[in-house]
């Protein structure tokens, strides 16, 4: 711009916190040179509720409903991560049946989370229709959750040591029906988007983050896999019996927005596959392990990370042998993934910034905690 006769000064633009495409209350301070982004800075904390501090004042069982409110789009994954961390602390393993039900529900939740992402991301890019279709399928999943545990969004489905609720009558059938219905529906989304020229031109070679940068920033989940790194905690460090399931880790090589879209769509298909296998594995048995009513874990600490829909979700729980945790630290995937925004958006256009924020798949409840 320096060659032009006009004076070019840097323009500082404030995007958010009330901006529909920031998917919550994210504020991005964008530095612009014409249409070009020369730098971004995220201002977070608008949804800070002090969840980690709340944990220090609640018993172990009482804190479980709060974790659902961090990543509220994938509440069940959060609950699983927390329950696994406390179970590791008290050296209790959930019974076989509980583990299978847990896997089925977390995979359904992964599909629901990716559906919300796909719908809203397409909406940001300008394709309105996929949102309605995605919400339609998500409704079926939420109905299963509602029938299973009594809540749709912030489910509180799992308890420490296993499950509170036995599966309802027709649970297996409804899961299978959903899977049968879902696969052609994914084809439908792909028909709308994958080969669409506008979609491709808006996403291909936008917001590239290569494998080295991903590792440097600690980016995990579909973003890392779209850069060609085959890293999935379900395969690398299996939990809840994931080693028994046969599924693939979809990867791509470019690491741009389009590849992230492809990876997430493929992941939905794989999740449906896992749900099918899980329903087959479902055998009668106890659903909750031997957990004392008043939980007093021995002094120590436990860290468990699971593959949440957005990436690696870690829970670090420290016990001081009392009824309340001494410290709970959460490693949220969206918080870590969000920091790569500046790297991806620098040098792109303002319109691409929206696409880049969209593909990170952030939930501000989790970023701010």
């Amino acid at each position: 711009m320096s060659e032009t006769f006009l004076d070019s000064t840097e323009l500082v633009l404030n995007m958010g916190p009330q901006h529909p495409s920031t998917h919550g209350v994210l504020r991005v301070i964008v530095k612009l040179d014409g249409e070009k982004v020369t730098g971004t800075e995220c201002v977070i904390g608008y949804l800070h509720r002090g969840v980690e501090k709340i944990a220090e004042n609640r018993t172990y069982a009482m804190f479980a409903p709060y974790v659902d409110r961090m990543d509220y789009v994938a509440a069940i994954s959060n609950g699983l991560g927390y329950c696994l961390a406390v179970e590791k602390l008290i050296s209790v393993e959930a019974p076989e049946r509980a583990q299978v039900v847990r896997v089925i529900l977390t995979e359904l939740n992964r599909i629901a989370s990716h559906l919300v992402w796909l719908g809203t991301h397409a909406l940001d890019i300008g394709a309105l229709t996929p949102l309605f279709y995605c919400m339609r399928e998500r409704e079926d999943i939420l109905n299963i959750f509602e029938k299973y545990c009594g809540a749709r969004l912030t489910t509180h489905a799992f308890r420490i040591g296993g499950l509170q609720y036995e599966t309802y009558e027709g649970f297996e059938k409804e899961c299978l029906e959903f899977c049968d219905k879902f696969t052609p529906r994914v084809d439908e989304y792909e028909e709308l988007l994958t080969e669409n020229r506008i979609w491709k031109e808006r996403l291909i070679d936008v917001g590239i983050l290569n494998a080295e940068d991903c590792k440097a920033y600690g980016v995990t989940g579909p973003m890392l896999r779209s850069a060609g790194v085959e890293w999935d905690i379900r395969k690398a460090l299996p939990y809840s019996g994931y080693e028994k399931y046969d599924f693939e880790i979809p990867t791509r090589t470019n690491g741009d927005c389009y590849d992230r879209y492809i990876v997430r769509v493929q992941e939905m298909r794989q999740s449906a596959r896992i749900v099918r296998q899980g329903v087959e594995m479902l055998a009668p048995g106890p659903i909750i392990g031997k957990v004392p009513k008043v939980l007093k874990p021995p002094m120590g600490e436990a860290y468990v990370s699971i593959e949440a829909p957005k990436g690696e979700l870690g829970y670090y729980v420290v016990s001081d042998a009392s009824t309340q945790p001494y410290r709970v630290r959460v490693r949220p995937p969206s918080f870590v993934n969000l920091q790569s925004l500046d790297k991806m958006a620098r040098g792109s256009l303002v319109a691409d910034l929206v696409a880049v924020i969209g593909t990170i798949d952030i939930v501000l409840g989790e970023v701010d905690r």
């Binding site: 069982a61 229709t129 509602e146 029938k147 545990c149 709308l192 669409n196 020229r197």
Partner: protein, 151 residues
């Protein structure tokens, strides 16, 4: 050339529209007509709390053990009781449940040893005041009376 023709003939547009047109049939409608049609929620739905009474005698099932208040993460349940000098048992005097702070986690329901406190399938619990969200014993036993709309 192919790309040019596709642009001229709006091929991408029609490919997308074909998906939309396929779902136009009335049997594909998934919208719910609330409040004209009140949807049925699942049997385990955690909604409005209810304090169960014995259907025959009308006496409360609550034994004032205070376990629900202890289990509640938000400390929103207050159980008021007096010791009955004759029977030596606790008599329930008052029971308040602050639904404005409730997150419907169901821990109180799980803690109740006599199934007196229950989260029901009722989800219409809006009120015009903050005080209206604090349910007393009477309201918990009888349930709310949501406004009926004519359609």
């Amino acid at each position: 050339m192919k790309r040019f023709l596709r642009t001229i003939l709006l091929a991408d547009l029609f490919e997308g529209l074909w998906v939309t047109l396929r779902t136009q049939h009335p049997r594909n409608i998934t919208t719910e007509q609330y409040p004209a049609v009140i949807p049925k929620v699942g049997e385990r739905y955690r909604g409005l709390p209810r304090l169960n009474t014995n259907p025959e005698t009308g006496e409360t099932l609550c034994i004032s053990c205070d376990l629900c208040a202890l289990a509640c993460p938000e400390n929103l349940i207050v159980v008021g009781w007096v010791r009955n000098p004759e029977t030596k048992r606790k008599d329930l005097v008052d029971f308040t449940y602050d639904t404005s702070r409730c997150m419907f986690c169901g821990l109180c329901e799980d803690a109740c040893p006599v199934d007196a406190l229950e989260l029901t399938q009722d989800y219409q619990m809006a009120s015009f005041t903050r005080d209206g969200q604090i349910f007393d014993r009477e309201l918990l036993e009888e349930g709310t009376k949501p406004t009926k709309y004519k359609w």
